[in-house]
Symmetry: C2
Subunit: 334 residues, 2 copies
């Protein structure tokens, strides 16, 4: 028996054509009797079908897992689009998981089964189980967008702290002192870092972020709407509000409109991400631009490098973010 | 040699522990020498690793391909979210392809390689190559959202024609006669059927859709914006415009605002899909609600049924759609 059997050996032993062998192994339509005969022959001669053979030879399945969160936040479809396009172009299949709901378990299962060569996490917190599992198994992993301090793995992110600081400096330069923050959860590094950069720059200029003007909630339109309504119906109202992502800012803009007020006349609003919709006239949102496509491409390159050479030391790659001034602030005086 | 070798047989022959065999086969970190020894032993005793073994036994890889289009159209993230959640809950992995760009080739390749058990197409036209390939190979396929007439495969869709007719009837009931249509491409069944239902209902009431008020373009905000600007700056302007999806309607709303006009005072706008954003105060869009989650769940059920029993006759499953009246039309008089 040769060391590596071929499908021809299987065909001969089973007394069928090579095409039938291929059909059985490629999930085609054959009778149960034929399937059994072919599988018995394959086992006997030690034939491993292509997919398995390649996986056994290289240890790779050419499949990358991508973990996303809430797809109704327009940031995620944009980064998912960029990741999928880059991965497909590199000959990789993409297995998608949504970390809300059953996706987390599915991701864990796939990592354990070795059915992906690596995982891109676009959303993650310290307590993420699939991330911990992937790292424990030494599976190649890259975090894009979110970072986890002290974690020994590849990470790609925007310069969130600097972006938050740029917003504060812009508002201060235009004379704002009564400023507020509507932030996502502090467990998300993006939100935490953007808020820290903002607050530090304010403090550095002697401006205090009042506790009642420093609100945290989920990254949703609904939170932005509710929190902004509360801010604008208080006894004293802020003159400018920084929302740590665009989706919260859209909710805040809607709240202002629903109260019969107007932006930027009554209050300035600034977001973060610069999703496609931010430039729509409905929103015309001043926001911090993240180079989403470049971040996705970089994450893919880093992950494929690591798969090729697992011994590469972990890299942290950061992309600078720039303020894009539009109509939700007084862009005539930018 | 037993007919079906176990990993224990491999371990004995290679002179390593069973854990080492597992590590080699599960894509773990081992030396090249160990990997070679284990793989040679596996081939010799005819051992097939689990993934391959399961695929050989059942002919299944528990992976479903999902083909989506432009993820910046908020309809796609919503249906993708519903499909992924349902598939993960059913123990299926999801391989994602974007039919724009390299995703089409990747889908074709995976279908040929048998690396998915079936494919959900959320966007497809008669000329789709992956669809033709899947059908030629008798791979289980379900179309959700889009339909292709005369195609012998499972299809799930909203009642697009009835939805379009309901819009026409609503506008006629409120006295509109100068009505327009901003439609997506006619190669998309959704757009074609919605437009046909709309036009037929108008014609049935003696109202003609003027050719210059019947515009077609891509399913984008930009097309809606541009086409609506043209409509509203013409010599005669329509009093109501039906856009065959919400994204076009958002563009149309933005165009009206940018012209300093207002909705519904100067013109009524109606969309189709009822994506989450349609209810945001920024848009407050009257639209036709598609039961996206139910359609996705139904498509998954039908596809898994077909994989289990390939002889089931193809089913066409349609879901009724209802008009949701909001502020982009005169909802006080709905």
């Amino acid at each position: 028996m040769p060391l590596v059997a071929t499908s021809n050996d299987v065909a001969k032993l089973a007394g069928v054509s090579q095409a039938t062998v291929s059909r059985v192994l490629a999930n085609g339509v054959v009778s149960d009797a034929t399937r059994r005969k072919v599988l018995a022959a394959a086992a006997q001669v030690g034939y491993v079908p292509n997919l398995g053979a390649r996986a056994m030879k290289t240890g790779r399945v050419d499949t990358i897992g991508v973990v996303v969160a809430d797809l109704t936040n327009p940031f995620y479809p944009e980064i998912l689009d960029a990741l999928t396009t880059t991965l497909n172009a590199a000959g990789q299949k993409v297995t998608l998981w949504n970390s809300d709901g059953p996706g987390n378990d599915a991701a864990l299962h796939a990592i354990r089964a070795g059915s992906v060569d690596g995982v891109v996490f676009t959303t993650v917190t310290e307590s993420s189980e699939p991330l911990r599992e992937a790292l424990a198994r030494r599976s190649p992993v890259v975090l894009v967008n979110r970072v986890v301090e002290g974690l020994s793995c590849d990470q790609v992110s925007g310069e969130n702290r600097e972006g938050g600081a740029a917003v504060a400096e812009y508002l201060l330069r235009h004379g704002h002192r009564a400023v507020a923050l509507l932030g996502g959860p502090t467990s998300a590094s993006t939100s935490r870092d953007r808020g820290m950069g903002y607050e530090a720059a304010l403090t550095g200029s002697g401006v205090t972020l009042e506790p009642q003007w420093n609100q945290r909630g989920p990254f949703t339109h609904e939170f932005g709407f509710r929190a902004m309504t509360a801010l604008m119906t208080g006894q004293v109202v802020p003159t400018a509000v920084f929302c740590t992502n665009d989706l919260i800012a859209f909710g805040a803009l809607d709240a202002v409109r629903s109260l019969g007020l107007s932006v930027p006349r009554d209050v300035w609003i600034v977001g973060f991400d610069d999703v496609d919709m931010a430039r729509w006239p409905s929103f015309d949102l001043t926001t911090v631009h993240q180079p989403t496509k470049e971040m996705a491409a970089s994450a893919v390159r880093i992950l494929l490098d690591r798969i090729a050479d697992p011994e590469t030391p972990p890299r942290h790659s950061t992309f600078s973010c720039r303020l894009v001034v539009r109509g939700s602030t007084d862009h005539a005086h930018a």
